[in-house]
């Protein structure tokens, strides 16, 4: 964004600059953030809730919250993608936990009709990340991997995971942590950077 009279194309802005523009009430900046990260936000919410309608609500919440409180994003603490996904994840987990029955387990394959709108370039990058993450994940010991998957994708607390796996809570807790740290270093080794 520039104040010299003409507006800079939001497509040229970094994520951090985009949020500054959102803070200045530029709807096109929010649209650009949605274009870059909406697919991931929706996809993660869909994965955790197993429900496309709930995922839409989560995505809407996440982007409206960015609009309302852009200052909550601090670029010195991480990427916008991770910030938005952390919010999406926490919303999705709240939804899941508030559901008495975890009926979401029957993941219906209702692929929503969709439009393009998921940025192609970002998608390529996402695919690369996904590959590396899948590889890092698959190189983990099985007990660490399953603890992480149940916690993150399943939306269970580590205590619930411990019950499900019939393992001590302390063990599950450290498996999650050790597994994440292991993944982090193997991702660093394979050159996945933040963007």
């Amino acid at each position: 964004m520039t104040y010299t009279g003409q507006m800079q194309n939001v497509g040229d802005l970094s994520d951090a600059q985009l949020v500054v523009s959102v803070a200045r009430f530029r709807e096109d900046a929010l649209a650009e953030a949605y274009r870059r990260h909406g697919g991931a936000v929706f996809g993660l919410a869909r994965r955790v809730t197993g429900d496309a309608t709930a995922a839409e609500d989560v995505a809407q919440d996440v982007f409206l919250r960015l609009w309302d409180q852009p200052d909550r994003f601090d670029s010195s603490r991480g990427s916008l993608r991770s910030f938005l996904l952390a919010q999406a994840h926490s919303r999705a987990v709240d939804l899941v936990r508030s559901r008495a029955a975890r009926s979401r387990r029957e993941e219906h394959d209702a692929r929503s009709t969709a439009n393009a709108g998921y940025d192609l370039e970002m998608e390529v990058w996402d695919l690369a990340v996904a590959d590396q993450v899948a590889e890092a994940m698959s190189s983990l010991p099985a007990d660490e991997r399953s603890a992480i998957e149940l916690a993150y994708y399943g939306g269970y607390t580590y205590r619930e995971v411990a019950t499900m796996l019939s393992q001590p809570e302390g063990t599950v807790k450290s498996r999650i942590r050790n597994g994440l740290r292991r993944m982090r270093s193997s991702l660093v080794d394979s050159g996945v950077r933040d963007r």
């Binding site: 104040y3 803070a23 010195s76 996904l85 994940m137 982090r184």
Partner: protein, 277 residues
């Protein structure tokens, strides 16, 4: 529950915390601990970042595409959001001549909040009718200025040092960084900022004296002779970060002393200035 959990206990929970897999009480205890423990905070940030990658991976894995109409739903509800206040369109902050000489750009996302009222002032700054309109809007809405101000005022408290040291180090390590020195009118150095080409800037040192609690320092970037608020620095500035609009041609940083909530238009002369060019 004890007031403080032991460090080791918290540290052991950080993985589960990054995955939202801790209980409510645990989350609260961890958050309290993070406030005062930079090491755990860095670890938590880093694990969150990793969780973000897991999230991206999950999203791609199920090849989800955005549902039709979701963006329209989001955009449609923006209008009714009680955003604290709608500032003048950004282009209204262009070089000041007279209000009618500042056309609102077609691309500006938000509408102008109200009538502009020219109010010439004999200041060092060019006066700003647009900002005057913003003042009117603020007066009408009774909103908290610190909420609508630039990035700095709002993030600075949250920053409170967290992660900023690393950011400052990174800025200083950037070979194209520039150090901007702000001097008082007498030529005494009052603060130093480091600015990198992306527009990100940080206060690296300050000897600005403490102000009474009902006053604050406010930072401005001067663009075309006109100050744009970069946010509030508080009454005893030690740390701050801000973002200059890239390509805006900011020529100067300036600091004024203002009432605690800050102002949209400075009507006092700067206590310190430094050239960006």
């Amino acid at each position: 529950m004890s007031t403080q959990w032991p460090h080791e206990e918290i540290e052991g929970l950080l993985g589960a915390y990054a995955l939202d897999a801790v209980g409510v009480e645990e989350a609260a205890a961890i958050e309290r601990h993070l406030e005062g423990c930079p090491r755990c905070r860095d670890e938590a940030d880093s694990l969150r970042e990793l969780a973000g990658k897991l999230g991206t991976s999950a999203a791609v894995e199920i090849a989800e595409v955005l549902p039709t109409g979701l963006w329209e739903r989001i955009a449609g509800s923006l209008e009714s959001r009680p955003r604290p206040f709608q500032p003048p369109a950004p282009a209204g902050l262009g070089p000041f001549r007279a209000p009618e000489a500042v056309p609102a750009p077609a691309a500006a996302g938000r509408r102008h909040p109200g009538p502009r009222r020219p109010s010439p002032r004999s200041l060092r700054w060019a006066s700003m009718a647009v900002a005057a309109a913003a003042v009117v809007a603020i007066a009408l809405l009774g909103i908290n200025l610190s909420q609508v101000d630039g990035q700095l005022g709002r993030t600075q408290r949250a920053l409170a040092g967290r992660g900023q040291d690393a950011a400052v180090q990174a800025a200083l390590a950037d070979p194209s960084h520039r150090v901007v020195r702000l001097d008082s009118t007498e030529g005494t150095e009052l603060a130093e900022f480091v600015v990198v080409p992306s527009g990100q800037g940080y206060m690296v040192s300050s000897s600005m004296p403490a102000l009474p609690s009902d006053e604050t320092y406010q930072l401005w970037a001067v663009v075309s002779g006109q100050p744009i608020s970069m946010g509030l620095l508080g009454n005893l500035p030690r740390r701050a970060s801000f973002t200059l609009a890239p390509g805006a041609g900011s020529t100067e940083l300036a600091v004024t002393v203002e009432p605690a909530g800050g102002v949209t238009t400075p009507d006092r002369s700067p206590v310190a200035t430094g050239s960006l060019t």
